[in-house]
């Protein structure tokens, strides 16, 4: 958003996106998504605090295919932001900046977040 006619630097749609860059913007995107997702947690807690009927209503909505889809997306966003966030903490401490290391940790972050997401849903459904 640019309201004062000053030049803007090139944006996401200009640059090519190697994996590291894709994960970088995905970290931010999942962060914004999870901030919105806090609404889900607050709504559920308020429903439960209302008593048994509120609890049943909330569970009916969460149990629908749409609710499960939102919850699935939320769980992946959570696991991705968590794993990539741990990688960011290592960077903050000064470790893992070599290009080879970044390439490997990118793949590791994706693998861990997909594995955790799938495992949790398998455990819940099986």
């Amino acid at each position: 958003m640019n309201g004062n006619n000053r030049p803007l630097s090139p944006h996401l749609q200009i640059y090519r996106l190697p994996l590291a860059a894709l994960l970088s913007i995905l970290h931010r995107a999942t962060g914004v998504f999870l901030s919105l997702g806090t609404l889900l947690l607050v709504w559920w807690l308020v429903s439960v605090a209302q008593g048994e009927s509120g609890f049943n209503n909330a569970n009916a909505i969460i149990g629908s295919w749409f609710g499960q889809l939102i919850l699935f997306g939320w769980s992946f966003a959570l696991f991705f932001h968590l794993s990539n966030g741990i990688r960011h903490l290592f960077w903050d401490a000064g470790y893992g900046f070599e290009i080879n290391t970044v390439a490997r940790s990118s793949v590791a972050v994706l693998a861990v977040s997909v594995t955790l997401t799938v495992s949790v849903w398998l455990i819940v459904y099986l």
């Binding site: 958003m1 640019n2 309201g3 004062n4 000053r6 803007l8 931010r28 962060g31 914004v32 999870l34 901030s35 806090t38 609404l39 947690l41 607050v42 807690l45 308020v46 439960v48 605090a49 209302q50 008593g51 048994e52 609890f55 049943n56 769980s75 959570l78 696991f79 968590l82 966030g85 741990i86 960011h88 903490l89 903050d92 949790v120 455990i123 819940v124």
Partner: protein, 127 residues
């Protein structure tokens, strides 16, 4: 006039000693959220198919309600700090940027209070 060199001044503690605060609190809440998030997912998976009574019992245990309130505070603080950076990066008009940041902070603050109060109500059985 200061007799210090510019470098010596720059080596101080930053602007009013608070330049690092936003960055640091983002990391502190991030570290706190690592175990809290794993616990939350575990707790949700445990009560996924549970009935009302079981869920209330689980949420009412002192350990679980304390962990949940800690998670709520850390997560909303973390979200407010993160959303602020997103607005600062993408909104170049100063007035719009400030309005977005303040409105988001107030909304997240309100949501956090609502969530904490719900947990307290559930824990104390006041429903």
């Amino acid at each position: 006039m200061s007799l210090q060199t510019p470098l010596a001044r720059a080596r101080g503690l930053g602007s009013a000693k608070e330049g690092l605060h936003h960055w640091w609190m983002q990391r502190v809440t991030a570290v706190a959220l690592i175990p809290l998030t794993l616990w939350l997912v575990y707790a949700i998976a445990c009560i996924a198919d549970a009935d009302y009574k079981t869920v209330i019992d689980e949420l009412s245990s002192p350990l679980n309600s304390s962990l949940l309130i800690s998670l709520i505070i850390a997560a909303f603080y973390h979200a407010a700090l993160g959303m602020q950076v997103v607005f600062e990066d993408y909104i170049s008009t100063k007035s719009t940027r400030i309005v977005c940041i303040v409105v988001t902070n107030l909304l997240l603050f309100f949501l956090a209070i609502t969530a904490v109060l719900s947990v307290v109500r559930i824990a104390l059985g006041g429903h």
